[in-house]
């Protein structure tokens, strides 16, 4: 936008160079004014509905506002950074809950993002294959979960993962007794360590339980997603991969067929063609999908709200849900807002990190 005005300004400036300097400036500023007028409605709307609420929330996060009346009066106590320090440095329930929610969500992101990206890419390749019959059907079928209401899907998953539900029925056919999904708070990593005999889940090694950073012991940090969280992970991978499949599909259709044919002529096999031709062509889409995935997974809320409310044993508590609970249930709006700003920072930092990792080698940003 700014670039376009700039170029146009220069062009008119060059044309006006035959006249006086004063006239040149006035033409330019008139165009500037027009430009600002054109963007003004958008600026006002963004300012009013995006920027202003963010600034208001930022203010709330440094107060001890209890939800009575307006937070923008003199009677509201300003506590500075206390709402933030309580989350990180003060021993207590607030920090413990927050750190637990961070742990849960981190494991959630670590599992969901790679899975959904891989699944979406795989589905896109399948649908894009030239030999596939009934493409439209598959495209619709894969995309369907993404357009269905997440609340409705969550409720259906509650039934699927019930103790005597479909999933456990299937497992029983193979002689496996399925877990009680939504009431099983054991961590998957714990179970794994227990399974290979490195640690006893009922009697964890004292070395790990005695200490740890931020009020949780090392043993708690190393739990992995709980069994209950796994069912939510499955749900989310299934619902979001459809949307990302569409993005990959659009990108795949932009990869010139000639490139692939040239690689074939050079004797590249299927894997080499995928690795060295297709994937590099998808780089920008990959960045988009990963970024959207990370943002979406760090903000997971509705599935938690509908399916588990943080239970069992707080293993599905996420920062977004904790922020809601702290504000609207405990009337601690300051802490709730502070949690959401920390979450915001986490997402920004991760996105910048991804940009750094995925940028093209050789100078171009």
């Amino acid at each position: 936008m700014a670039d376009a005005t700039l170029t146009r300004g220069r062009l008119t400036g060059a044309r006006g160079a035959r006249g006086t300097g004063g006239r040149r400036r006035s033409v330019r500023s008139a165009e500037n004014l027009a430009g600002w007028l054109f963007v003004a409605p958008a600026l006002v709307i963004i300012g009013l509905f995006v920027l202003l609420p963010i600034l208001m929330a930022l203010w709330v996060s440094i107060t001890a506002w209890n939800g009575q009346g307006s937070p923008f009066t003199g009677s509201v106590e300003v506590v500075g950074l206390e709402n933030y320090t309580r989350l990180f440095t003060e021993e207590g329930l607030a920090r413990q809950d927050f750190m637990t929610s961070l742990r849960n969500n981190a494991y959630y992101v670590l599992v969901v993002v790679p899975l959904q990206t891989a699944l979406a890419l795989g589905l896109a390749m399948v649908v894009n294959a030239r030999l596939l019959k009934g493409k439209t059907f598959f495209r619709t079928a894969f995309y369907f979960p993404s357009v269905t209401s997440s609340v409705a899907i969550s409720v259906v998953f509650l039934f699927i993962f019930a103790n005597s539900g479909v999933v456990n029925g299937l497992l029983a056919m193979f002689g496996v007794q399925g877990p009680m999904w939504f009431s099983d708070s054991r961590g998957v990593l714990h179970l794994l360590l227990d399974g290979i005999g490195l640690a006893d889940i009922d009697d964890p090694p004292a070395m790990l339980t005695e200490s740890g950073p931020f009020g949780l012991s090392w043993w708690e940090w190393l739990s992995g997603p709980s069994v209950a969280m796994c069912s939510i992970i499955v749900l989310n991978v299934w619902t979001t991969s459809g949307t990302f499949m569409l993005m990959f599909l659009a990108a795949l259709q932009n990869v010139p067929v000639s490139l692939e044919e040239a690689a074939m002529l050079d004797g590249a096999n299927r894997w080499q063609r995928f690795r060295n031709v297709t994937l590099p062509a998808l780089r920008s889409t990959m960045f988009l999908v990963l970024t959207l995935g990370v943002i979406g997974t760090w903000q997971v809320f509705d599935q938690i709200y509908v399916m588990s409310q943080g239970n069992p044993a707080k293993t599905t508590l996420t920062p977004a849900y904790l922020s809601y609970r702290t504000a609207f249930r405990d009337f601690d709006y300051g802490s709730g807002a502070a949690i959401s700003f920390v979450l915001f920072l986490i997402i920004v930092v991760l996105t910048l990190g991804q940009r750094l990792l995925l940028r093209e080698r050789g100078g171009r940003s």
């Binding site: 329930l93 707080k314 405990d330 601690d332």
Partner: protein, 413 residues
């Protein structure tokens, strides 16, 4: 470069202008006590309704009151009571009258959202004492209880017989309960299903003579030996397979598991009547008082009060409305419509005549313990529930000392 700076500056200036414009309207401080408005009132009443029947009963009662007094009253059933109330208070436009859940009462009272009107209601001492205590904060009796429920021991008649037990076997002490439960288990039936929360298991703490806080709600008493005894007893039931949590038998709550005949007994409140009638009409059951512990009988009560907003413009009319809703006749009408127990002691006789099968629930009123009556306790209690979910393999002593520490922190701060 300069152009960028100008743009940024302009954006910032625009944001500030917006902020100023936004703050200019309606963000002024309201005076501490809102004056009474004159003329006929338009009362807004927000209720956390249990269902269609309750909504209709309250709407009818409100319409009758409005007609008799020449005011108007709008009853709005809430989708999510605490969130909607929270928003209304934050936006400075609370409803005039609303339900206040006993467990949340202290949160509202401590931030000054409630009008302490209770003494202006006629015969305000005519409500059960345990309920009045529930709605007393810092020595002030704020609002009058709407109605209440208590927990009872619900027994499945068929399964009871199948285990070879008779009416005389209904347990009245913990020892009797254990031996009865063992007999049921030997018959191949799960004895007890009970929800994994302080709202059910807390009854055992009361029976052992303990509770999470002192009666005035100012001290933490969670790590008392009485509480330890209670949790150890519950743990032994869980370990011996004499009790299970609903999730273990694929049910959302005790009533559902009981209705599906997954267990011979459950501990629930009088709301189970409605659920059984609607979903499991063929299951026969009886209700009894909970077995007494070492310190005697104990149960928990659940109640709402009629809250009046401190910022209401029509407090006089609101009090007159609450007065009309809490007469003995009106409470009996509510009891018939949606199965709650009247909170006025004067209505007890009429109620037990009408619903003789509820005698056990009603008797519980005399020794019931209300929810924890202190602000900022929600997250502490959720944490306690989390520990209770893992009680079977947990260490009761550790659970209670953690609860003690968190409670102390919440009460102190």
């Amino acid at each position: 470069m300069t152009r960028r700076t100008t743009t940024a500056l302009a954006a910032a200036a625009a944001a500030c202008a917006l902020l100023a414009a936004g703050c200019g309207s309606g963000f002024e401080d309201n005076p501490a006590s809102t004056p009474q408005s004159s003329g006929p009132a338009k009362l807004q009443i927000l209720i956390g309704s249990s269902g269609e029947a309750e909504t209709k009963a309250v709407q009818d009662a409100a319409a009758a009151w409005a007609k008799a007094t020449g005011n108007s009253a709008t009853v709005i059933p809430a989708q999510d009571m605490s969130q909607q109330l929270g928003q209304a208070f934050a936006g400075d436009s609370p409803p005039d009258v609303f339900y206040v859940e006993a467990g949340r009462f202290a949160d509202y009272a401590s931030v000054g959202a409630l009008e302490p009107y209770a003494s202006k209601i006629s015969d305000s001492e005519g409500f059960y004492e345990s309920l009045r205590n529930t709605f007393t904060f810092n020595g002030t009796y704020y609002c009058v209880p709407k109605d209440f429920s208590t927990l009872g021991l619900v027994i499945n008649t068929e399964l009871w017989k199948k285990a070879g037990l008779t009416e005389d076997d209904v347990p009245t002490t913990w020892e009797e309960f254990t031996s009865v439960a063992k007999k049921i288990k030997d018959a191949g039936i799960t004895p007890l299903v009970v929800a994994d929360t302080r709202d059910r298991l807390g009854a055992f703490m009361k029976q052992a003579g303990g509770w999470i806080t002192s009666p005035d709600g100012k001290q933490a008493t969670a790590d008392s030996p009485q509480n330890l005894q209670a949790l150890e007893y519950v743990q032994s039931l869980l370990k011996d397979g004499l009790a299970v949590y609903p999730s273990a038998v694929d049910a959302g709550w005790g009533g559902e598991a009981f209705g599906k005949e997954k267990a011979a007994m459950t501990i629930e409140g009088n709301w189970i009547k409605g659920a059984m009638k609607a979903d499991f009409p063929d299951v026969k059951y009886t209700v009894h008082e909970l077995p007494a512990g070492p310190a005697g009988k104990g149960t928990l009560s659940f109640t709402n009060c009629w809250g009046i907003a401190a910022k209401s413009k029509y407090k006089e009319q609101a009090i007159s409305f609450v007065e009309a809703m809490t007469t003995v006749d009106q409470q009996m009408a509510f009891a018939k419509a949606f199965g709650v127990m009247p909170s006025r002691t004067a209505a007890a006789d009429a109620y037990s005549k009408e619903f003789p099968e509820d005698a056990a629930f009603l008797k519980g009123a005399e020794y019931a313990q209300g929810p924890v009556n202190a602000p900022k306790m929600e997250s502490v209690l959720v944490d306690f529930d989390t520990a209770l979910q893992k009680l079977k393999d947990g260490d009761p002593k550790q659970i209670l000392s953690r609860l003690q520490e968190n409670t102390k922190a919440a009460l102190g701060g």
